[in-house]
C-alpha cells in the first residue's frame, strides 16, 4: 500500500471509530442511568436520554464568566473530548484492528488518559470560581492518587506477558492477542484477580463517579470543576465523559477479557467482525455495570483525604500483592519448566 493510501485509510478509520465512540459512549451512559434507576426502584430516563441532553445543551447559551480566562476556558472542553477520542484509536474494539494500535502501547494510553482530566483541571482553574478552583485541586489530588495503582496493574500484566515470552508486551494488540488467564498458573490467577479489582476501583475515579467524584461533588461544590460550564462547552465535557466511559470499559476488556466470539464459533469474516463488536459491547456493558453503576449507587462519597488513603494505601498494597503473586507464579512456572 502506498503511504497516501495508508494515511487515507487511517483517517477514514479514525472518523469511523470516533463516531462509533461518541454514539456507543452516550448509549453506555444511558444504560448506566437506566440500571442505576432500576436499582433505586425508579423507572429512569429512556436509553436515548444522553442524546437528548446533548442536543439540548448544544442549543443553550454558552456563558463565559467575567473573571474566567476565555481561551483556556473554551479550549479545555475541546481538548478533553479530542484526547478521549484519541485514546479510543489505540484500543482494540472486538476483532477490529485499531487504527493507531501499532503506533502506541499501553504506556501511551496511560499518559493519554490523564489528558482529559488535565483539561478539566485547566478549565476549572480558568473558570475563576472558588468551587471550580477547589474542584480542580481535588481532581489533581485524585489523579495523583489513582495513577500509582493503575501503573501497578499495567506493569504487572506486561511484565508477566514478557516473562511468558510474548514479544512487545506493552502493545495492546499483543495483550489482547494473548489472553493472560491462559498463561498464568493458580497463584497468578489470584494475582490477576487482585489486579482486576484494582483496575475496577480506578475506573470510577477516572470517570469522576461516586465514591470518587469529590472534584464534582454535587452537594458540596455544586458541580465543582464544571460549575461554570454551560451550553456547548458542557456538552463537549459530557461527550468526553461518554467516550471515557467506553475507553475505560474497552481497556478493562482488552487487558482482562480479550476473547472474541469468532475464536470459539466459526463464522464468515464479515459476520465475525460484527458479532465480535457486539460481544465486545456486551462485555463493556458488563464491566461498566460492575465498576461504575453498581459502585456509584451503593456507596457514599469519600472525602478527598480518604480518596488518597484508599488509593495509596489500600489499593496500592492490593496491587503490589497481585504483582508479587504474578512474579511468584512466573518463578514457579519457570522452575516447573526447568524441572
Amino acid at each position: 500500500m502506498t503511504l497516501a493510501g495508508t494515511i487515507g485509510s487511517i483517517i477514514l478509520w479514525t472518523v469511523l471509530v470516533s463516531l462509533f465512540g461518541l454514539v456507543a459512549g452516550l448509549f453506555l451512559l444511558g444504560i448506566d442511568r437506566k440500571l442505576a434507576a432500576h436499582m433505586q426502584a425508579r423507572i429512569g430516563p429512556p436509553l436515548r436520554q444522553p442524546f437528548i441532553d446533548i442536543r439540548k445543551l448544544l442549543v443553550k447559551e454558552n456563558i463565559v464568566p467575567e473573571n474566567a480566562i476565555p481561551w483556556l476556558f473554551n479550549s479545555a472542553p475541546v481538548i478533553a473530548v479530542v484526547s478521549s477520542l484519541v485514546i479510543l484509536l489505540y484500543i482494540p474494539l472486538g476483532s477490529l484492528i485499531s487504527p493507531l494500535g501499532m503506533y502506541g502501547d499501553l504506556i501511551l494510553v496511560m499518559y493519554l488518559l490523564t489528558i482529559p482530566a488535565l483539561a478539566m483541571v485547566a478549565g476549572g482553574f480558568a473558570s475563576g470560581s472558588p468551587y471550580a478552583t477547589v474542584g480542580a485541586q481535588r481532581e489533581m489530588v485524585t489523579m495523583i492518587g489513582y495513577e500509582f495503582p493503575l501503573a501497578i496493574v499495567v506493569i504487572g500484566i506486561a511484565w508477566r506477558l514478557w516473562a511468558a515470552g510474548v514479544a512487545h508486551p506493552f502493545l495492546l494488540s499483543s495483550i489482547a492477542g494473548n489472553p493472560i488467564w491462559g498463561i498464568v498458573g493458580p497463584l497468578g490467577i489470584i494475582g490477576l484477580i487482585l489486579l482486576l479489582i484494582v483496575l475496577a476501583v480506578v475506573t470510577p475515579a477516572e470517570l469522576s463517579r461516586i465514591p470518587f467524584d469529590t472534584q464534582e461533588a454535587e452537594t458540596e461544590l455544586a458541580g465543582g470543576l464544571l460549575v461554570e460550564y454551560s451550553g456547548r462547552n458542557l456538552a463537549l465535557f459530557s461527550l468526553s465523559t461518554a467516550v471515557k466511559t467506553l475507553v475505560m470499559g474497552a481497556l478493562a476488556v482488552a487487558i482482562f477479557f480479550p476473547w472474541n466470539l469468532s475464536s470459539f464459533v466459526a463464522m464468515p469474516a464479515g459476520v465475525a467482525q460484527v458479532a465480535d463488536l457486539l460481544f465486545f459491547l456486551a462485555k463493556v456493558v458488563l464491566v461498566m455495570f460492575i465498576t461504575v453503576t453498581l459502585v456509584r449507587v451503593g456507596m457514599a462519597r469519600f472525602r478527598i483525604n480518604q480518596v488518597v488513603t484508599v488509593y495509596w494505601v489500600h489499593f496500592a498494597l492490593i496491587g503490589l500483592a497481585g504483582l508479587l503473586l504474578l512474579m511468584a507464579d512466573s518463578a514457579l512456572g519457570t522452575a516447573a519448566g526447568v524441572l
Binding site: R42, D213, E218, A222, R303
Partner: protein, 408 residues
C-alpha cells in the same frame, strides 16, 4: 493550594446551594480543604407569619401554624392550641389527647425518615435516599388517611381534634407500624453498618455535651451529645403523661456517646422505633368519648374573643422543643404571638461543629441538626436594600422601646 499562601480564602455557601435545603448564607474562611472559621446569616426566608397571625382569630391561626413548617405541622399547631387552651381554660377531652399524640408521633416517624434520606443524599448516597423516602411513603399514606392530607394536616384545633380515629383505621395504622418495626432493623443495618457512611460520619461534626448545654440545643441534636432532654419525658403533655417515654441517647445503641453526626443518625433512627411503640400503646389505651371540647365553631370563637391572659405552649417536635407564646386581650386576634421553632435553638451549634472540619463535611454537618430555616426566620431587617446586623444590646433596646410603646 493555600499551603504556600498565608492568607485564608473565603468560600461562600448560600443563600441557595445544593448542600442547603433552605436558604441561609454561610461564609467559610478556608485553609486549603480545612474550615478555619465560619459565620452564617439566617433571615433569608422571613415570611411574616406572626404578623399574619395577629390579624386572625385563633380558629384561623391554627391553619396558619400548620404551614409554619412543612414537616412538623402538628407540633406548631399543637403548641399554639395548647397555649390558647390555657388562656381560655378549655379542657381537652382525653380521647383528643390520644389522637393528638398518635398524629404527633406519626409526624416524628415521617420527619426522621425524611431527614435520614436527606442525610444520605448529602453524603452522595442517593440509593439510600430513594429507599428511605420510599419507606416513608407508608407513613404519609396513613397520615393522609387519618387527616385527609399528606402535609398541612389540619387535624388539631383549639379544644381538641377535628377527626376521630375510627376502628377501620386501626387496621391501617397497625399494618404500617408492623411494617416499620420489620424495616427498622434493615434501616439500622444500612445506615450504621455501611463502612462508607461510618467513614464520613464518625467523629465528624463533634458537639461536646458542654457545648450542647451551653448553646441550649434541643431535640435529637442535644440528645446525640448525651444531654438527657425530651419534653415528652420532662414536661409531659397530651397523652405522654400516661405513657412511659424515655429520652433516647446514643449510648443505648453504641454503648458510648461521641456527639458526632453518626450519633445523630442513631438517635433519630431509634426514635422511629420508639414512636411506633408509643402509637401502638396509644391505640390500645385510647379512651372513648368526645374528640373536642367545643364542637360549635361560633361558640368557640366567642370563648376565644372573651379570653384574656398569656400562656406558653411547649411541644417536643421532631427537631426538638417547639415553643409558642400567645397573649390575648379580649379581642378576636391575639395581641401578641411569638413562635420559636426548634431549629432556632440548634443553629448556633453549627459553629463549633463546623470549625476544623473539611469542605466535604459541610453538607452533612449542616444537615445533621435537621435545620428548618423558614420556620426559624422570625426577623429580617431590610432597609432600602441594605442589611444590618443587630447585636444583643440593640435587640434589647428595641424590645424595651416596644414594651414602652405598648404600655402607653
Amino acid at each position: 493550594m493555600s499551603e504556600g499562601k498565608k492568607s485564608p480564602y473565603i468560600v461562600p455557601i448560600g443563600p441557595t446551594h445544593p448542600a442547603l435545603k433552605e436558604p441561609v448564607m454561610f461564609t467559610f474562611e478556608m485553609d486549603g480543604e480545612m474550615i478555619r472559621d465560619v459565620d452564617f446569616a439566617p433571615g433569608q426566608t422571613h415570611r411574616g407569619i406572626e404578623w399574619m397571625g395577629m390579624r386572625r382569630n385563633p380558629v384561623q391561626i391554627v391553619h396558619l401554624t400548620d404551614r409554619i413548617c412543612g414537616i412538623c405541622g402538628v407540633s406548631h399547631t399543637l403548641a399554639f392550641s395548647r397555649a390558647v387552651e390555657q388562656i381560655t381554660e378549655i379542657e381537652v377531652p382525653e380521647r383528643a389527647d390520644y389522637i393528638r399524640t398518635i398524629i404527633a408521633e406519626f409526624e416524628r416517624i415521617q420527619s426522621h425518615l425524611l431527614w435520614a434520606g436527606v442525610a444520605a443524599h448529602e453524603l452522595g448516597f442517593d440509593s439510600l435516599l430513594h429507599l428511605t423516602w420510599r419507606v416513608r411513603e407508608q407513613s404519609m399514606d396513613v397520615i393522609e388517611n387519618l387527616t385527609g392530607n399528606r402535609v398541612n394536616y389540619g387535624l388539631v384545633q383549639v379544644g381538641g381534634v377535628r377527626r376521630d380515629i375510627v376502628p377501620e383505621q386501626h387496621r391501617i395504622i397497625e399494618d404500617c407500624l408492623s411494617a416499620y418495626e420489620g424495616l427498622l432493623g434493615k434501616l439500622l443495618d444500612l445506615f450504621l453498618h455501611d463502612k462508607t457512611i461510618a467513614m464520613r460520619c464518625r467523629d465528624v461534626g463533634l458537639l461536646s455535651k458542654e457545648d450542647a448545654l451551653k448553646l441550649c440545643t434541643v431535640g435529637p441534636t442535644a440528645r446525640a451529645s448525651g444531654v438527657n432532654v425530651d419534653l415528652r419525658q420532662d414536661y409531659p403533655y397530651c397523652a405522654y403523661g400516661d405513657l412511659d417515654v424515655r429520652a433516647i441517647l446514643p449510648d443505648q445503641y453504641a454503648g458510648e456517646t461521641r456527639g458526632d453526626v453518626y450519633d445523630r443518625i442513631v438517635v433519630r433512627l431509634l426514635e422511629v422505633g420508639q414512636s411506633c411503640g408509643i402509637i401502638r400503646q396509644c391505640l390500645s389505651e385510647m379512651p372513648a368519648g368526645e374528640i373536642t371540647a367545643e364542637p360549635k365553631l361560633a361558640k368557640l370563637l366567642a370563648i376565644c374573643k372573651k379570653a384574656r391572659g398569656e400562656a406558653i405552649g411547649r411541644v417536643e417536635a421532631p427537631r426538638g422543643e417547639c415553643f409558642h407564646y400567645v397573649l390575648m386581650e379580649g379581642k378576636e386576634a391575639p395581641a401578641s404571638w411569638k413562635v420559636k421553632a426548634s431549629s432556632y435553638s440548634n443553629l448556633m451549634s453549627w459553629i463549633p461543629m463546623l470549625r476544623g472540619e473539611q469542605i466535604a463535611d459541610i453538607p452533612i454537618i449542616v444537615a445533621s441538626i435537621d435545620p428548618c430555616l423558614s420556620c426559624t426566620d422570625r426577623v429580617a431587617v431590610v432597609r432600602a436594600a441594605s442589611r444590618s446586623i443587630y447585636s444583643k444590646d440593640d435587640l434589647h433596646r428595641l424590645s424595651v422601646e416596644k414594651t414602652r410603646r405598648l404600655q402607653q
